[in-house]
């Protein structure tokens, strides 16, 4: 057990750049994508529903990026689950398709945290890798009168290293992280903040940013805007192409047949000179999104619900933290002189919806409505006014 002051002092001096060693993280995407046909997309990602209870399944993956990580088998380690009441349990571990998986029920609303910790000594350094997943269980059918404390993040007091995503202002179960939001992560070792840890955030599209935790153990990132409106032929702007769903389905079919998708290889949807995405590049960017979805978050496998688009689309990020501690000891008979702690968790973010909204056009449409009815009613009334016509009677 470490004292907080000592901990921060220790870590300030020995933080290291991210090592080449692959990290561990937990994914809700199965290695066999056909398994997703039975899943439903919920507020907390893909779930199975058994007897009207959400069941979450997570798979262990090894690697430093969302798109290139392999599914992994555990090396004699254990999973832990922290439920909404902050009770810790150990879910059973399953194996299949070369990957370790855990399944657990989420009967109550709130955040569930799953952890997997692995320890191994290599070259005199004890590597302690902790994979974490934070999963929200919320069902709108159950109403929205929930205790706001349930929105607060859970923490595992014994975690060797844990990243805790601090909540956005006024966050609730419906809040989505969007491009432009300032995300704050607290890095903690056994419940105490860690200063100077290296924190790295990588988005699905490969954008990487690195920060160091401050004296409160907090590292901040502003979520990058990497989705841009796509102009269609009529000049309308969309966050995804109108027929994105169909394209995705087509690509999925091609993949099933073992051929590369039509959009394969279009991965560099970056900004044009001057920062403004060109029409071509923007479209390419949209396609790239579809490409990445195939690896993580593909709508095609969303129980067949492939036509989600617009503001509903979302990308994922992987945030990882690590630090090196000068602690000597022995683990399973192997001596070590240092401990290398690392942890990683995923999250999702949506495009900044404001880039595809127009208030001025809204006002123009409302004005058009007012004008149409105002002019229409005035003309109609005028047409109904009949000129005065004298009627004479012959009284004889």
């Amino acid at each position: 057990m470490y004292k907080p002051a000592a901990m921060t002092l220790l870590c300030a001096a020995i933080s290291i750049p991210l090592s080449a060693e692959a990290g561990l993280w937990l994914s809700d995407q199965p290695p066999d994508k056909s398994l997703m046909r039975d899943m439903k997309r919920s507020h907390g990602g893909y779930v199975l529903i058994e007897d009207d209870v959400y069941v979450k399944q997570l798979w262990l993956r090894k690697g430093d990026s969302l798109t290139g990580s392999a599914y992994a088998e555990p090396a004699g380690a254990s999973f832990s689950l922290l439920d909404t009441r902050r009770q810790l349990s150990e879910p059973a571990v399953g194996r299949g398709n070369g990957a370790a998986t855990i399944r657990f029920k989420m009967p109550e609303e709130g955040y569930y945290n799953a952890y997997y910790t692995e320890r191994a000594v290599e070259n005199g350094v004890l590597n302690v890798a902790t994979a974490k997943a934070e999963i929200l269980k919320h069902n709108c059918r159950l109403g929205h009168n929930y205790d706001r404390k349930l929105v607060e993040p859970g923490r595992w007091q014994d975690a060797p290293l844990e990243i805790v995503r601090l909540r956005l202002p006024d966050e609730d179960f419906h809040t989505r992280i969007r491009s432009g939001n300032l995300l704050k992560f607290s890095v903690q070792h056994q419940g105490q903040p860690v200063r100077g840890a290296t924190v790295r955030l990588e988005t699905q599209k490969g954008w990487i940013n690195t920060a160091f935790s401050d004296e409160n153990g907090i590292a901040s990132f502003q979520v990058i805007q990497d989705t841009f409106p796509v102009d269609d032929d009529d000049g309308a702007r969309f966050l995804s192409k109108p027929q994105a769903g169909e394209q995705s389905e087509k690509r999925g079919d091609e993949e099933k047949e073992g051929r590369p998708g039509k959009w394969a290889g279009q991965k560099d949807g970056l900004q044009s000179e001057g920062g403004k995405p060109s029409k071509w590049q923007a479209k390419k960017d949209g396609d790239e999104h579809a490409e990445h979805k195939g690896d993580h978050g593909e709508r095609k496998e969303d129980g067949g619900n492939s036509r989600w688009g617009g503001e509903r689309r979302e990308d994922h990020f992987l945030v990882s933290a690590e630090y090196l501690s000068d602690e000597a000891g022995a683990w399973e008979g192997q001596a070590y002189r240092q401990i290398h702690y690392s942890t990683a968790m995923t999250g999702s973010y949506a495009p900044n919806i404001q880039v595809s909204q127009s208030k001025s056009l809204g006002l123009i449409y409302a004005s058009a409505g007012m004008l149409t009815l105002g002019v229409g009613a005035t003309v109609y009334r005028r047409r109904r006014i009949k000129p005065f016509k004298e009627v004479g009677f012959d009284e004889r």
Binding site: R141, R312, K359, Y365, L371, L373
Partner: protein, 357 residues
């Protein structure tokens, strides 16, 4: 032939006159002018003033109540707009209903789908208490329309009205909107439409734009280009908001005529404990009730046969009862007991015809 025609005209006239005379006699019956009982007090109420304060209170409760931690649930049979976020004291039932109907069919038509019935049961319980008086006394959007009408009066402009032919055609629009709000979510649940078409009616409803304005929230005043569905719905929503603002200025309760909630209410109005009744034998077909009706409901004056006179366009504002000069011709029954009825005394008081004491 012409004699028969004249007779046809004469008979209702004679019948009206006979009723009128009978009522004249009953008007002097001592029990009707004796003492000021609670019932007499209610029958003599200044409905316009009562309604103004009741509507204002309901408006404040629903539009700002959330800030005082008031939560009436999400099955309210009135436009307590959920887009008014934290300030709303409850949520209009149409919002959760559209959400629930957009569930995957496998879920909707399973035991899980029973929660839809749960929400509906709560809606029905709320509705049965007040029937369509939710529209006439509580609906914030209706209240805003009444305020705009007040503004028009101040400008001294005359109000618009529909011809019988226009009325006959336009009255079906609310049923079309009701079908849209029920079936589009079902198509989404069946994966025949994108989720971008979700909550279609809310996207069209002017309440989404207008009600949050009272909390300084203009976030709904926009067109969303994030997808085709959103773009179409939000553009239409903004256009309809423009129509709403101008229409309410030109025509009393302009939007209520097209309101799908009104159509939804009407389906269950027969079950309500709160009923508007007409005693045809006491009606002289003077037409006062029709003239004061914001929704131009003609049968309220013409129909002397039907007892249960509540029509689909009715908002149960009770202006017809207050404007009726005939004793007991129109009345409001709650659980079979009359709580408010038209009286000569009340009519005279409201019209300022009472002799000074």
């Amino acid at each position: 032939m012409s004699v028969r025609k004249n007779l046809n005209r004469l008979i209702p006239f004679m019948a009206r006159r006979a009723h009128h005379e009978r009522n004249q006699q009953s008007a002097v019956r001592p029990e009707l002018v004796e003492g000021l009982t609670l019932k007499n007090y209610i029958d003599r109420i200044d409905l316009r003033r009562f309604r103004f304060w009741f509507q204002l209170s309901a408006f404040v409760l629903l539009v700002y109540g959330g800030r005082l931690a008031i939560d009436l649930g999400n099955s309210l049979p009135t436009f307590a707009c959920g887009y008014n976020k934290k300030a709303t004291a409850g949520v209009c039932y149409l919002l959760p209903l559209q959400h629930q109907l957009a569930q995957p069919w496998s879920q909707l038509f399973s035991l899980a789908g029973l929660t839809v019935l749960g929400g509906f049961a709560v809606f029905l319980l709320w509705f049965l208490v007040l029937n369509k008086a939710w529209c006439g006394f509580i609906c914030p959007l209706g209240t805003i329309q009444d305020w705009i009408t007040g503004l028009r009066k101040r400008f001294g402009l005359r109000y618009g009205s529909y011809s019988d032919e226009q009325f006959g055609k336009l009255t079906y629009i609310k049923y079309v909107l009701l079908l849209v709000l029920l079936f589009v979510p079902l198509l989404i649940g069946g994966r025949l439409l994108s989720h971008d078409w979700g909550t279609p009616y809310c996207q069209l409803c002017p309440a989404r734009m207008i009600i949050p304005l009272f909390n300084g929230d203009v976030s709904q005043w926009l067109i969303d280009f994030s997808s085709t569905g959103r773009m179409v719905l939000t553009a239409l929503g903004m256009f309809i908001t423009g129509l709403f603002l101008m229409g309410s200025f030109l025509k009393k309760r302009f939007f209520c005529f097209f309101c799908p909630m009104s159509a939804f209410h009407y389906i269950f109005s027969k079950l309500s404990l709160f009923k508007l009744k007409k005693e045809g034998s006491k009606c002289t077909v003077c037409g006062d009730c029709y003239r004061v009706c914001d929704l131009q409901i003609k049968p309220i004056a013409d129909d002397v046969v039907k007892q249960d006179i509540l029509m689909d366009d009715c908002i149960l504002c009770l202006k017809c009862v207050a404007a009726c000069p005939e004793q007991g011709a129109l009345r409001v029954d709650v659980l079979g007991k009359t709580v408010f009825e038209s009286t000569k005394d009340g009519f005279a008081k409201r019209m300022g015809l009472e002799k000074p004491k």
